[in-house]
Amino acid sequence: MSFEPKIIAFLCNWCSYRGADLAGISRMKCAPNVRPIRVMCSGRVEPDFVLKAFEAGADGVLILGCHSGDCHYVEGNYKTIRRIALLKKMLSQLGIEDERLRLEWVSASEGARFVSITNEMTEQVRKLGPFSHRNGGSNG
């Protein structure tokens, strides 16, 4: 049986969550591998959440926030950018592939974009193979 990756997506309540809703309302079809978790702002996503996701068995993590300048809370997404950049450095030191964590922007009107990012991420993580925290990723 082929490998079906499990991916957690942190969705901002105001943009990407609604973008994902729109994808559903428009009956677009996408990979079922992405499991959404709603947060009020991408800025609420603690690095710990991402580490926890990998620890609990996720093969990949998506963080989808509002486009630059569109943050419902003025500038929460800018904080996310800085936070995730730092987190990515740390993940690489832990031997976790960069491609397993992706930060993207999806507005409430971008159902199609939600679907394409979801599908891309699924295929990307499928190629990487299952994440095993026991050996700290492929680099061991």
Binding site: R18, A53, Y73
Partner: protein, 655 residues
């Protein structure tokens, strides 16, 4: 000690919307086996009365203290179910929703995989709700006044509705007079009512209404606060004419020797450097355009001042900033007309007799630059006029959307042309005729019998390169007649471009100012396209008229009245509920590092220097959680999105 957690889980079929893809029985069976789940049921329509009653009865019968409903998006029914559990005596925050419709059944093809995903989503909600706490819903009083931004037909309608109900309205308009685009129109479709006759009484009603404080030539610069309690800073630009002293005689305008292009007449004529945009302007107080007034550039002239009896001219007047407190905001900032010079093949700006729809509107208007006569650049009467539809609309190069009003105003133009120039040939180049409103199809039918030529096809080019003798001295419209499948060349004296309605060029900045979202087409985004079409994602802020999307006058007026009703409901309640899910600092854990103070976008966090801890102002906090994620001591909890709850959700969603 905490009561034993007893969770009830309800899986909705949503007819076949969910149950058609997801095996709801299997999900319920799986969930029944999870810790603390007392009961898991599936039901046809959870949001129906029997569905809600089932939850209420189970809460009593089984002593449930947590409820999960797995159905549609929380954007649709979270409120419904929170209300239901509250009716049964549970705190509304002890309810959680799993979105297995939009995020699962509708978006997943394979029923097996959809069922697995649904199990994961419901399991996440069950794990999460275990840690959810009751929260106190906070109520705040509503300031019984309203800010309306934009004085076109939509803003005027909303203002009058609210003011007539006895409440204070601050109506802010950027231009020197209210009126917006509607003031420029000649007739309105399909009734052919004279726009001025139906509109100018409304303008003066606004000017005379004691409940409306009209601020023209003004712009909102800053908005703070929250539903029920907004503060807005408004810059009243210097008119250089004292509004209190001016008696509206307009002798100053008459005496002013300096001229500039008239914006109101779409560049077809000139206005003075001191001017009112049009004769029925409200307020009837002129402004000095400092860019074209010679006194401001060279320091001499002062003709207006000399002839002003009431001594109202004030060259030294400065911009004024005023702050108002309002309970709600209605954004009615309208649209821009598409600039057709972008489509170079249509020759706008190159050929003088290619004009825009709004220019034609002014030309047709009896108080317009030609006194209502349809004339060519050389002053002669056109004998053939081509009207090109969808200029900038339904075009992937510009705007994909349909601007909705152009078919109808183009039909109106045909009628007006025929009325004024009986023997004129009128050609309508259309893609599809969209006559969707009440009486619109009938109007089309009527025009079809008035001898108008309808040609279905997109125009490729407007050119002055003539071939035949008949084309000599005329413009030639080159198009494909898609019904005949041939290319045609139609000679015309005048070409009218039915230009698209597009989002204001500064819509992005305005969206940020009022903290509202925009849709892909650039217009402001409503909270729900069907069930909440005038609200926005910012509570207490509404959007009406063309700022929300292209629409005709009846729709703009209906939206404005709808928003006014929403605002009046808030005011008559006198109070609104505000978000309980805010951040709270545990003083025991806070090290006083102040990292959160700087991060907070609302300046809601301050520092208590004595206690060496940070404090959150509950009224200002909006619950984004940025501070929660940043606190190095984990001293800040984001209520309803606590670290514990999200960690549990992560575990649950990975089953």
């Amino acid at each position: 000690m905490k009561d034993k957690i007893r969770i009830g889980v309800y899986i909705c079929h949503c007819g076949t919307n969910i149950a058609g893809t997801v095996d709801v029985k299997e999900v319920a069976k799986f969930i029944q086996g999870l810790p603390s789940v007392v009961i898991a049921k599936d039901y046809m329509y959870m949001c129906s009365d029997p569905g809600q009653n089932m939850i209420k009865e189970d809460i009593k019968q089984f002593g449930l203290n947590r409820v999960v409903v797995a159905s549609c998006s929380p954007m649709l029914h979270e409120h419904t179910f929170r209300q239901a559990v509250q009716d049964a005596g549970l705190n509304p925050y002890l309810f959680e929703m799993a979105n297995i419709r939009e995020h699962c059944s509708w978006i997943t093809e394979d029923p097996k995989l959809a069922t697995e995903k649904a199990k994961a989503l419901v399991s996440a909600a069950v794990r999460r709700i275990y840690y959810q706490e009751p929260l106190e819903v906070r109520e705040v009083p509503v300031t019984p006044s309203v800010l309306v931004v934009g004085g076109g037909i939509a803003g005027i309608q909303a203002s009058l509705e609210i003011a007539n109900a006895g409440h204070k309205v601050y109506l802010v308009e950027r231009e020197p007079s209210i009126g917006g685009h509607m003031a420029q129109f000649d007739k309105t479709f399909p009734t052919l009512d004279c726009a001025s006759c139906i509109f100018t009484p409304l303008l003066s009603a606004v000017g005379q209404n004691p409940n409306i404080e009209l601020m023209t030539y003004s712009e909102v610069e800053e908005v703070s606060g929250y539903i029920g309690n907004f503060k807005a800073k408004i810059r009243k630009r210097a008119r250089h004419v004292d509004e209190d002293k001016c008696n509206g005689c307009l002798v100053c305008v008459e005496k002013c020797p300096w001229k500039a292009v008239s914006e109101f007449d779409e560049g077809l004529t000139e206005r003075k450097a001191i001017y009112t945009p049009f004769a029925q302007a409200v307020p009837n107080v002129p402004v000095i355009d400092t860019e074209h007034c010679v006194y401001f550039s060279k320091g001499t002239c002062r003709a207006c001042e000399k002839f002003c009896d009431p001594k109202a001219i004030d060259f030294k007047q400065q911009d004024k900033e005023v702050e108002v407190e309002v309970g709600a905001i209605i954004v009615a900032t309208g649209y821009d007309a598409f600039d057709p010079s972008a489509i170079t093949d249509y020759g706008y700006g190159r050929y003088g007799n290619v004009i825009t729809a709004l220019q034609f509107e002014r030309m047709c208007n009896a108080s317009g630059p030609t006194g209502g006569n349809i004339v060519l650049k050389d002053g002669s009467e056109p004998k053939s006029i081509a009207i090109i539809h969808c200029v900038g609309s339904r075009d992937k190069n510009y705007h994909e959307y349909c601007s909705r009003v152009c078919c109808m105003y183009s039909l109106k133009y045909s009628h007006l042309i025929k009325e004024k120039i009986e023997d004129a040939e009128v050609y309508q180049f259309y893609i599809d005729m969209r006559c969707f409103g009440k009486g619109y199809e009938e109007f089309y039918e009527r025009l079809s019998n008035e001898g108008v030529n309808f040609i279905r096809g997109k125009v490729g080019e407007v050119t002055d390169r003539t071939i035949t003798e008949e084309e000599q001295g005329k413009l030639v419209v080159v198009a494909e007649d898609s019904l005949m499948s041939t290319m045609i060349r139609v000679p015309a004296d005048m070409v009218i471009l039915s230009t698209a309605l597009e989002a204001r060029s500064d819509a992005e900045a305005v969206a940020r100012l009022f903290n509202i979202s925009r849709s892909a087409d650039g217009f402001f985004l409503e909270r729900h396209p069907k069930l909440d079409p005038v609200a926005t994602t910012t509570e207490g802020t509404f959007v009406v008229g063309c700022a929300q999307g292209p629409k005709d006058i009846p729709d703009a007026v209906a939206q404005a009245s709808a928003a006014a009703a929403r605002v009046l409901a808030m005011i008559s309640q006198g109070k609104v509920e505000i978000e309980a899910a805010i951040a709270v600092i545990d003083e025991e854990l806070c090290s006083g590092c102040k990292i959160c103070n700087l991060l907070c976008p609302y300046s809601a966090i301050t520092s208590d220097e004595e206690k060496k801890v940070s404090l959150i102002n509950e009224a200002l906090c909006k619950g984004c959680g940025v501070c929660v994620a940043a606190c190095p001591s984990a001293a800040i909890a984001g209520k309803h999105f606590t670290t514990e709850q999200i960690m549990a959700e992560i575990e649950g969603v990975l089953v």
